[in-house]
Amino acid sequence: MLTLQFIPYTEIEQLSSSKRISKLLHLVKGDKIILLEGRLRREEEAELIKRTMESIGPKFSGIELSVVYPNNKDQAFFRKVKQVFINLVLGDRQGMTIIGPANVVKEIKQHPDKIQLFTKETSSVKKKKKK
């Protein structure tokens, strides 16, 4: 059975970068696929990969990560400025971040306008967990 957990931006807003990453990794290690409102900062994304690598062991082989972000390139100048201002005040709530454990999520295919998430067969996941 797949578990999807939605995390609103308000839940991580007040946390430091390190605590945000710890929280997300903790949930992913519990075999949950996270749907996070908004996105992490660029440096936090790199830090998440780094911390994931530090956690890899016999029971955890890493994560699959994908960020869906709206394309603002064709927006009018005023709307862009408005968006930058909102991001500054409220944080980067635009888009969505999907993080799943590599033993559950086989692949996340990202396209400019859609995302495809492929999961591993449940039986093969169970087999691996028994080991």
Partner: protein
């Protein structure tokens, strides 16, 4: 000062001498300081051809390769550096840099993938462990780069989060970037897809293995590394 005992006088003179040297250093130091070597990094996901490209550069300009290559992912598991690579343009201009070949960045490393490729379990586990350390060191090195060549496999989908995270982090650090679409000698290669994924950067199609468009690549380096 004349009334001070001799040891104290020497001590004071010594400190004055040191202060003078420091002032002189601060004023004129920058004229004598050794020029910082530019670090040019090769970044990208595993198996994109970073080491093949590094080998090509080193063989062309130093006469020796940089590291071993393999079709198996995570062949490069430690950061490798070749110092003082000097390339020359047709007009005689020279460009000197330290070339830094980094392990491929990935979000997942499973030793069973190596077992499937024919390794025994102990070897596979060791390779996986080294590969995780390699990814960590690649990320740590991001801060030290003066310019970066992002090497992508032109036959693969460029919209992967690893690619976006690498390029996003370089953008945030304002590091000059050249995107190389490698393996264009292969039928499945699609440079246009990479260009549309990263329209803000110059994307150059090359084949590090067959040296296709390698001269154009060297010319472009002069624009990127400054």
């Amino acid at each position: 000062m004349d009334c001070l005992p001799k040891p104290k006088l020497f001590k004071r003179l010594f400190y004055q001498f040191i202060t003078m040297i420091n002032i002189f250093k601060n004023l004129f130091g920058r004229f004598f300081r050794k020029k910082k070597q530019v670090k040019l990094g090769l970044y990208g996901p595993p198996n994109g051809g970073k080491t093949t490209l590094a080998n090509k550069i080193c063989e062309d300009w130093l006469g020796e390769p940089m590291g071993s290559v393999s079709s198996l992912a995570h062949e490069t598991r430690e950061v490798q550096i070749k110092e003082k690579v000097v390339i020359k343009s047709k007009s005689g201009k020279e460009l000197a840099f330290n070339l830094v070949d980094t392990p491929g960045i990935a979000t997942r490393i499973d030793y069973e993938d190596f077992v499937k490729e024919g390794m025994n379990e102990t070897e596979a586990k060791e390779r996986a462990k080294e590969a995780t350390k390699g990814v960590i060191s690649s990320i740590k090195w991001l801060d030290d780069m003066d310019a970066v060549i992002v090497v992508l496999d032109a036959t693969k989908d460029p919209y992967s989060q690893v690619n976006l995270t690498i390029i996003g982090n370089l953008e945030a650090r304002k590091t000059p970037v050249l995107v190389v679409a490698n393996k264009i000698d292969l039928k499945k290669a699609d440079i246009k897809k990479i260009q549309s994924a990263f329209p803000q950067y110059k994307v150059l199609g090359v084949s590090a293995k067959t040296a296709l468009h390698i001269e154009e690549f060297y010319d472009t380096l002069f624009e990127v590394v400054k």
